[in-house]
């Protein structure tokens, strides 16, 4: 190829672009790396100034995250020497492990509520979006605007009415209540996003399937759904990120039973001084499901975000 081309960027432009992408990646990844590193530091290394880049890794943060501990006398420790590696870690501080912490169940709550509401939002959103895209619906535009308008204020602005309603209906501190709430918040986004994707799928495909001997629902299931996979994947990721990270409602509406990880993680700080490594360990583990989910769907996501920008 010659040195000049309209469509092909020059070598210099390509390296510049690569430099920008790498620089941006470093800037966005730095806090993440910081958190992951802090999770493996000892409490004194975690608050050392200037910050330690090279340090001796320890699993102390993770042990503290998953356990509750009590202080014991030196005699007690001498009589009952620690046997496992994690007991040895806490013994350095004159402590013994009293039992598991509640992080495990909080994390499980997050998984149930996050993925449950994501599934519901995407499932209901796909059906609604298909109907809005394909059928003649009276007051369609007004309905769509109404659906969008539910997102025109921050959801937390209606926290008090929701709090009262949940108490009346017995939904406070239940998984079903939180799934319902996050689904309600995400549904408007989901309907709008998916309608855009389904609008782009030509009707001819379904009509073709109808003539080929399939019912409307079969045509939807066999022809529309596979082609909307891109949109469904990216919508699911957006919904999951919201439900996964949501903090304010989780603080307000959950306590004992259905509390998710975000309100739990800050409470770790209070247990036995400012335990930053344990907080960082909690945050690191908390990041994993969304990352895995996004990586699994990344192929669809990339196409999904640029969808509509490039006509095939």
């Amino acid at each position: 190829m010659s040195s000049f081309s309209v469509t092909e960027p020059s070598r210099r432009m390509k390296s510049f672009a690569a430099f920008m992408v790498i620089a941006y990646a470093i800037i966005t990844l730095l806090p993440l790396l910081w958190i992951i590193a802090t999770g493996f530091k000892s409490p004194s290394d975690a608050i050392a100034y200037p910050p330690k880049i090279v340090f001796e890794p320890t699993l102390e943060g993770y042990v503290n995250l998953f356990t509750t501990r009590t202080r014991q006398t030196a005699e007690f420790l001498a009589e009952n020497p620690p046997t496992t590696w994690y007991e040895k870690i806490v013994a350095q501080y004159g402590m013994v492990i009293a039992g598991p912490s509640r992080f495990g169940e909080r994390f499980l709550n997050s998984v149930i509520i996050g993925f449950g509401s994501t599934f519901l939002s995407v499932f209901l959103g796909t059906l609604a979006a298909y109907a809005f895209s394909r059928y003649r619906i009276p007051l369609k535009d007004d309905l769509l605007f109404f659906i969008l308008s539910t997102r025109m204020m921050p959801p937390i602005a209606v926290a008090i009415p929701i709090f009262l309603m949940f108490r009346q209906l017995g939904l406070s501190d239940t998984h079903a209540g939180m799934i319902l709430l996050y689904t309600a918040v995400n549904l408007s986004l989901s309907v709008w996003l998916l309608k855009g994707f389904i609008d782009e799928i030509p009707r001819e495909y379904e009509e073709s399937a109808l003539i080929d001997g399939y019912t409307r629902f079969q045509a939807f299931y066999k022809v529309v759904l596979p082609q909307a996979a891109t949109g469904i994947a990216s919508t699911a990721i957006f919904c999951l990120i919201f439900a996964w990270n949501e903090y304010a409602f989780a603080v307000l509406l959950t306590s004992g039973q259905a509390q998710t990880a975000p309100p739990f993680i800050p409470t770790i700080i209070g247990v036995g001084g400012q335990d930053w490594p344990a907080v960082a360990a909690g945050a690191t583990i908390f990041l994993v499901p969304v990352m895995v989910f996004t990586i699994l769907l990344r192929k669809h996501l990339l196409r999904g975000i640029t969808f509509g920008a490039v006509r095939k």
Binding site: P202, E204, Y205, E207, S208, A209, L210, I211, D212, G213, Y214, T215, Q218, V223, P226, Q227
Partner: protein, 331 residues
């Protein structure tokens, strides 16, 4: 295969009248082509027959059975769309198998294999069966979508300008293939196009649609030699029929407003003088653009004609068509 009848079918989309009281019979085993410009209602006829659209009034019969209220799947019709014809998430083989696997047909797997192989051979796509549908060229895609109709044995094949997006050579090849397939299988086809060459070469019957009305129906020859109106006469013939004021040559019947002259209705060599304005050598024929008493005409001359612009040619009408003020033919 079956006879398909449209009886007084009317269809509106909002304020536009797409089909205006259309009655049409597609005989069993016929290749019927509907001609007309964009917006004439050709595609609507196919959609009404297939059941994708319901007529506002009138009825569709397939094999003497009323199709009133029947879903597309219940009508046993196959349709080829103008574009977006293949399911992009499936391979060629899966595309061809799709109608056979429908809950309606539930074809056994070995039968599916056999039918796909047979159709793929006819359409010369056997080597592409495992390709993704989106990895095909335009011509291959359209052949596969025709194949998806051919694997079935429907009451009627409906085709909506299936060749319009192809290049000239492929179009000519597929035209011959389609005609062959139809002639061998005795299939009934209702085919929509605005390409007169397709109509002339493939059809057993041609219907001309004008703003939702069926204005003429007959064999291609009949339509060409005996058009009922200026509109119908303009659908067929290359170069297009020349329309001139009726009194230009004399001898016009009373009430005639215009005279219609196809190339073969213009005798060259005697009559009145006209001036050659342009000569177009197309290879197999040569077109003459003539000026006759300040009116322009296009006709055909011998391929090796020596005529040049500025020359004088004598012309005379020969069995011309005469049309009245509203464009209807005066016989």
């Amino acid at each position: 295969m079956a006879e398909v009848v449209l009886q007084n079918v009317t269809k509106r989309f909002g304020d536009t009248l797409a089909l205006d009281n259309v009655s049409l019979t597609v005989p069993n085993g016929a290749f019927v082509i509907l001609l007309g410009p964009t917006g004439a209602g050709k595609t609507t006829v196919l959609r009404v027959v297939s059941g994708l659209d319901a007529p506002d009034s009138g009825e569709v019969f397939i094999g003497r059975q009323s199709m009133n209220g029947l879903a597309p799947a219940q009508r046993n019709v196959a349709m080829v769309f103008q574009q977006y014809s293949l399911y992009p998430h499936l391979t060629v083989r899966e595309n061809l198998a799709f109608p056979l696997k429908s809950p309606l047909l539930k074809t056994p797997p070995d039968e599916i294999e056999r039918k796909i192989a047979a159709v793929a051979k006819v359409l010369q796509i056997s080597h592409k069966l495992d390709n993704k549908a989106t990895a095909l060229s335009g011509g291959e895609m359209q052949r596969v979508s025709i194949g998806r109709a051919l694997v079935r044995d429907p009451a009627i094949y409906l085709m909506d300008e299936p060749l319009s997006s192809l290049d000239a050579k492929l179009r000519a090849d597929l035209r011959i293939e389609l005609k062959n397939i139809q002639a061998h299988s005795g299939a009934t086809l209702l085919y929509v196009t605005h390409d007169q060459l397709e109509a002339m070469t493939m059809a057993t019957h041609v219907g001309v649609l004008d703003r939702g009305r069926l204005v003429q129906f007959g064999s291609p020859r009949e339509l060409y030699e005996n058009p009922v109106s200026i509109y119908a006469a303009s659908r067929l013939g290359q170069p297009r029929i020349n329309l001139l004021p009726a009194d230009l040559f004399g001898g016009a019947p009373t009430g005639a407003k215009s005279i219609g002259l196809r190339s073969e209705q213009i005798a060259q060599g005697d009559g009145e003088e006209s001036t050659v304005r342009r000569v177009e050598h197309l290879g197999d024929q040569t077109r003459l653009h003539l000026s006759f008493r300040n009116h322009d005409l296009v006709t055909v001359a011998d391929a090796h004609t020596q005529l040049q612009s500025g020359d004088i040619v004598k012309i005379a009408p020969q069995n011309p068509f005469y049309f009245d003020a509203s464009g209807n033919r005066i016989v």
